[in-house]
């Protein structure tokens, strides 16, 4: 009987180890919340696609001898996974903020996008306190938009947090929410399939300072990878791939 337990123990350790990959310096694991079309989304084959995903692939081609793996996981699990060394890079509509910069190291800004409020055409809410008073606003848990709203409007509006922006948009379409606050490209993409909604961007320059551009992030102190990524991005910019992708998705 004891032998049986020993066998079970070794079998289970073996199973765990078989799902282990010992640190390979050649493989870089990129992770994102792939529910933010058109920036990052999961296509039907289960592959991560979208503007930033293609950008990552382009950058990887510029990095010699490296293999890039792109996977999907929930947004609020990205930073802990980074710290746990589960993943190497997090990307996909990640806004650079001061607080985050204390937790992780950001690459240079990849691109900038406006942030906006989407509400029904009847309500047509705007970014001022009177318009938003007592309304239900949906945001993604852990996003910079959530942090902004809590800082600015904490007691006057009802902030509802969702695992992903699309869940918030779902609740917008069935009137549980009055508005959703998220990255404008994502909202615009959704708007294409849904009629009767208005999009208002945040334009006040002093408020906009809260939102840096979008960048990728690595574990704090991982200078080598950071340098690699920045170098690859520069290469992608200089040879026009970046501009081509930008045109493809945003124009």
């Amino acid at each position: 009987m004891k032998l049986l337990w020993v066998k079970i123990l070794t079998a289970s350790i073996g199973l765990v180890l078989s799902t282990t990959t010992w640190a390979k310096s050649q493989e870089i694991h990129f992770a994102t919340d792939a529910t933010q079309a058109p920036l990052v989304y999961l296509n039907q084959e289960g592959k991560v696609n979208g503007f930033e995903a293609e950008l990552v692939n382009a950058m990887c081609e510029k990095m010699p001898d490296t293999q890039c793996v792109l996977t999907h996981q929930s947004f609020d699990s990205l930073i802990p996974s980074l710290n746990l060394r589960k993943i190497d890079v997090m990307f996909g509509a990640i806004t650079v903020t001061e607080k985050r910069a204390k937790q992780v190291d950001f690459t240079q800004t990849l691109y900038q996008n406006p942030v906006g409020l989407m509400s029904t055409s009847q309500e047509s809410l705007t970014f001022d306190e009177r318009s938003l008073k007592d309304k239900n606003l949906g945001v993604q848990l852990g996003s910079s938009m959530e942090q902004y709203l809590r800082q600015k409007y904490n007691n006057t509006i009802s902030i509802k947090t969702y695992g992903g922006v699309q869940d918030a948009l779902l609740d917008l379409s069935n009137s549980r929410l009055d508005a959703v606050f998220a990255d404008t490209p994502i909202l615009m993409h959704w708007q294409k399939d849904h009629q009767g909604y208005d999009l208002v961007n945040l334009t006040n320059p002093s408020e906009l300072k809260f939102f840096g551009g979008n960048a990728m992030a690595v574990r704090k102190g991982n200078k080598k990878l950071l340098a690699q990524l920045n170098k690859a991005f520069d290469a992608v910019k200089t040879d026009g791939t970046y501009d081509a992708l930008y045109q493809k998705y945003f124009e």
């Binding site: 009987m1 004891k2 337990w5 079970i8 123990l9 079998a11 289970s12 199973l15 765990v16 180890l17 799902t19 282990t20 990959t21 010992w22 640190a23 390979k24 792939a34 529910t35 079309a37 989304y41 999961l42 039907q44 084959e45 289960g46 996977t71 999907h72 996981q73 929930s74 699990s77 990205l78 802990p80 996974s81 710290n83 746990l84 060394r85 589960k86 695992g163 992903g164 699309q166 869940d167 948009l169 779902l170 379409s173």
Partner: protein, 225 residues
């Protein structure tokens, strides 16, 4: 099936992963559970006290909290205390969390099973000069299975359903893939109902297998006792 808008193969992949996750967690949980049961029955008061406290703690906290604790807590372990980085399987956080949970509950079942074995056997063994360790090894543990199976079977079903929680710590199991599909297709009912049915199939098959195995192992139970 076109009504799943082509996401069916992904869901099946997720289901496979859920099963794998469940099985590995089960194995870890059985090992922890056995150690736990032995610990609670130990003659050392210290060991008894610690194992009992551990089990009470784990059983008293929400499952999601345990998973978060393993997920976030190991951040401390790996980054602030251990010097070298190692890439362990991305699913180990789920496996360890679910295994700890299963182990805590299983220890109660196994302890009950150990106590249910007729004491006459133990007494006879002692009279024959067996040491305590030999009694466990040759008499008690081999019979454990028969008494513990119904309880462990129920815990397996609970484990299978609890695997859905790993989607909340970023693992791409069946639940997480359904969520991704919902976010693109905006058809929550379709996908969540499908996922529910997949879980239903998995639990039903498990129950059927457990029933059959239980009948097989208890064939001689109660005979000549």
């Amino acid at each position: 099936m076109s009504y799943l808008e082509g996401y069916a193969p992904q869901l099946l992949e997720g289901a496979l992963l859920t099963l794998q996750l469940g099985i590995v967690s089960l194995l870890l949980g059985l090992v922890l559970g056995t150690l736990g049961a032995l610990g609670e029955l130990s003659r050392s008061t210290v060991v008894r006290y610690f194992t009992l406290s551990w089990h009470t703690l784990i059983r008293g906290l929400p499952e999601i909290l345990i998973l978060f604790a393993v997920f976030y807590g190991s951040d401390l372990l790996f980054n602030r205390w251990l010097p070298t980085p190692i890439d362990i399987s991305p699913y180990w956080a789920g496996i360890v969390g679910l295994g700890i949970l299963f182990g805590a509950y299983a220890s109660q079942v196994l302890r009950g099973a150990l106590l249910a074995i007729p004491t006459g056997q133990r007494e006879a063994a002692l009279a024959l000069g067996f040491s305590h360790r030999q009694i466990y090894q040759h008499i008690l543990l081999p019979q454990l299975w028969r008494y513990a199976l119904p309880g462990l079977g129920n815990l397996w079903l609970v484990l299978l359903k609890d695997t859905a929680l790993v989607s909340l710590i970023g693992l791409t199991d069946l639940m997480s893939r359904a969520q991704a599909a919902v976010s693109i297709t905006q058809k929550p009912f379709t996908f969540y109902l499908t996922v529910a049915c997949i879980y239903l199939i998995m639990t039903s098959i498990s129950q059927w297998l457990l029933q059959r195995y239980y009948q097989k192992t208890t064939r001689y139970l109660g005979a000549k006792q």
